[in-house]
Structure formats: C-alpha cells, structure tokens
Symmetry: C2
Subunit: 281 residues, 2 copies
C-alpha cells in the first residue's frame, strides 16, 4: 500500500499532511489527512480518529476544525478520512441528494448489490486505513480513540461500541445516535443494507447498546440551535439507552450553537483533552 | 448604510457574522466578516482589522484563521474585509491572472481611469468600512489595530504607517513590504496608479518609512519555506528601513513554515496577544 502525498504543511509545530492511496476496500482512490504533532525521534504517539459528516471530505475538519494547537500541545496524531468512495464509476443517489451516496457513506459495508462493491467504509475505517496509518506514521496502535460529527458521530460511536478493546475513548459532536429511527438513517441503512432491520442494529448506537455493547463512558456535545436536533439527532434516545445500560454519558447541551464547524471548533479542544486523558496511560 | 446578514453562527462563546452592504466607494456590494466575542451588555470593545492576501475573500481567515478562541479570551472584535470589489461589471486582469484585479485590490485607490471607479480599497478599508462597523457593532473606535497576510500585510502596514494615531498596533504575516521593488507590487501599483513612481511611495511600507512615517513597533512573522519569500516579500528591506528609522521591529523567521493558513493559524494567537497588550490601555 503506497501513499501519495498531496500536500504537507508545517503547522503548530507539527506537520499537516493530505494523502491519497488506492483503496482495496472501496476500489477507488481515497484521500485522507493526518496531523503529526511535534515529537521526539522514535516516539510512538496516540492517534485520534475523526469521522466527518454528510457532504464532507477530509478537508472540512482539516481546514476548520481548530484541532492542531491542542493536538500539538497534547502530542496527539489526528487522522481524518473521507466520508465515502469517490469517482465517476461510483454509484450515488439517483436524485443526487446530499444524504446518500457520494459524501454520505454512513460508515457501513453495503450489502445491497449496487453499492456493495465500493461502499465499504466500515472496513475502510476500521481495518484498511488503520493498517495504512500504522505502517506509515509514528502511531502507537494500543492508544487509539475516535470522535466524529453528525453522520461521523454515528460512525465514531458505532465503531467504538463494536471495538471496545481498541478505542480507549469515544466522543461526538451532534451525532446521529439512532439511525434506524430517523429519516437520514433510515434512507441510508435501507439503501446500503436493505430492508431487513436486524442488519441495521449493528450500525445504530442505541440498538447496539440495547443489544449489550458497552463503553465505560461517552462525551457528546450538541447545540440547542441545531436545525437537525429534533428530527435527525435525537440525543435523548442515547441518553435513555445509556441510563438503562449503566454507561456514563456526559451529554452537553450547548446554548445557541448550531450544526456547523463554528460549533465543532469551539469544543474541539475540550474533546481532545477528554481523549488525551484516556489515551495517557 | 444598511447591512444584510449573510450568516451568523455562535462560536467560542461569541458570534461570527458575515455581512453584505452596498459600498459607496467600490460601487459594488461588498462582503465582510465580524467576530464579536462574549461581552457584557453595553461594553465597547477593541477592534482588530485583518486584511487578506491575493485571491482571498473574507472567508479564508474566517474559516481557517483560528482567531476566535483567542479573540473570545481577550475580548477582541475581529473584522475581515474582502480584498477587492467583485462583480461582472468590475474590470479585472486582462489575462485573468490571480495577482491583479478581482481578489487583488492591493488596498489602494486606483487613479488609472479603467480601475478608478471601483478599485477604492484604501478608502473602503480606512473610511467607509470603519464607519459602518462603528455604527453597527459594539466597538471602541479609540482602540483599533490592524494586521494582515501577504498583500494584506502590505495593506496593514501601509494603513498603519499612514494613520499612526488611529491604529495602536500593527503586525503582519509574510507581508509584501516593498511593492515598488517586487513583481507583484510593480504590476499592481503600475496598473492601479500608473507609471509615476512617486505616487507609489505612499503604498510601499519601506518607502513610507524612508519618507518619515513612523510607528512605535511592528511584529512580522514569515516562514523560511515560503516560496514567495526571496522574490516577492523581501523582509530584509523592511528590517533595514526600520533599523535606519529607529522603529522597533520584531521580525521572526519561522523555520519550516510556508505562505499558507497553516502558517498563519499557528501564530495568530501570538499576534492577537501582541495587539491586545497595545489595545488594553
């Protein structure tokens, strides 16, 4: 697996890179970004995964996430994958909607025939890309954590719930917590996985918790001015599931904040500090 | 003068707005951004002006500048104007080059007939927009400062040198310090102001200092991996002029950094703290 460097810029004492590679999972070229903080030669660093939301690429958080100062201070690598396969040969939404297909992979391995070849974002994010990162950057694979925004918050929570031994921390901004119960999620899970709702449960954080998945704790921030809150995000469903399961959830309602990177960047440092504590040992 | 709100997002405890208005100077609509930090009702806040570089709009620093956390902490308003008039009716570079015309106003009032109607960025940035800001935001006009990047560093330094009583601090990232002596500047000053080089001197920081303009001190950062350093920026010319004039210049050569917002965002907090000290009294 060879990496092509798209750009490499010194920033906050470290290096912000953007890379491309031919993915075996998606059968397409995939682009991602990696920030490597200043570190001593030979050190192996903890790595934080950031999964992005609908319509995003690696670039949104890389440009607007305001994570580098804190990652540099705390010695964290941050990896930001793309949100779907890309390319003219990749099938998308028939109506070119923003919430399915390109830019909307939902972090699942599709089983529906039309999408199954390329839409393998679950395996890409949990298997292929971690191996590529481990082989090319100074990471300590024993110290990984994951966070994300909206669809990427869904991705981060489901990935963490399914790999409790791999990710030492998980958190999210404005996550979709119960895709089986909300319009964005129903469209995506039906489209990628078909109509059998049993297959949806391992891609639904609330269902995973109901089915016994556990994490020691979770941090979730959302803005009370988020236009998607009541219909698509529904944090109260996660709260209820965590209460029943005995999972310690720190759920923060941030007054006046919306769904944008202006919100994410405000609380990014908080999340990274929360991760760093759990990655320190 | 009425303002149209394009967007308003809560961020870092304050409000990041983007606004549009019909400019009397440029005879076009002009867009700019304003960050207002959290503050007590009725307070009048110091205001920092940020002038952007070639090809930029208000959006580059607004999205990538990483200034909001520090502005919120220090109680600074930050205003980011556009870099030129815009619109189909505005004349640009005949060859559509990036370094003249749209996105490249160079912060001068053009005198060449073709450009004189719209290209009035000097008056826009020093007169019209300050009045508009003072009338619509909680600013203390007695506490203003200015900084900028590249072409905007040129703008910030020349504006400050010509208004030593108005701006309490001036600094720059990778500024063009002697436009009369470098390709970007010669093209722009000739195009906007004509061939009489005497008219160029008040839009050339080094010439202004040679002609007697003074500031108590200046902060300038540049990256030693900046591809424009030797040909276009030439910080040594500013250093020499400041030495001869007795201006205290803190000129920092940042190893490994380039000309991008990855560089700017790294040192933004430093600059804002430097400004805040001088705006405090």
């Amino acid at each position: 697996m060879t990496l092509q460097t798209i750009s490499l810029n010194r920033s906050h004492g470290g290096a912000q890179g953007v890379y491309k590679h031919a993915s075996r999972e998606t059968k397409t070229d995939m682009t991602f970004s990696v920030f490597v903080p200043p570190h001593r030669e030979g050190a192996k660093l903890p790595v934080v995964w950031y999964l992005s939301g609908l319509t995003c690429t690696h670039a949104n958080v890389t440009e607007k996430g305001e994570f580098r100062a804190t990652c540099a201070e705390l010695g964290l690598i941050l990896v930001a994958p793309d949100t779907s396969p890309r390319g003219d040969q990749v099938p998308g939404d028939p109506a070119n909607a923003y919430d399915f297909g390109l830019g909307a992979g939902f972090y699942v391995d599709a089983t529906e025939a039309q999408f199954a070849v390329n839409y393998r974002m679950w395996s890409y994010v949990t298997e292929e890309l971690p191996q590529l990162i481990a082989g090319n950057f100074p990471v300590d694979p024993a110290r990984q954590s994951i966070l994300g925004h909206s669809m990427g918050g869904h991705g981060a929570l489901t990935v963490a719930l399914c790999h409790p031994d791999r990710y030492r921390a998980a958190s999210a901004f404005s996550p979709i917590v119960a895709p089986s119960q909300v319009p964005w999620g129903i469209k995506a899970l039906r489209g990628y996985l078909g109509t059998d709702k049993e297959a949806w449960r391992r891609h639904d954080s609330v269902a995973l918790i109901e089915d016994g998945a556990r994490l020691p704790d979770l941090l979730v921030d959302y803005g009370d001015a988020d236009p998607f809150l009541a219909e698509q995000l529904r944090p109260e469903l996660l709260q209820s599931a965590c209460e029943k399961a005995g999972i310690s959830l720190l759920l923060r309602r941030q007054p006046g904040y919306d769904h944008s990177y202006y919100f994410i960047s405000t609380f990014m440092a908080d999340h990274l500090r929360w991760h760093a504590k759990r990655l320190a040992a």
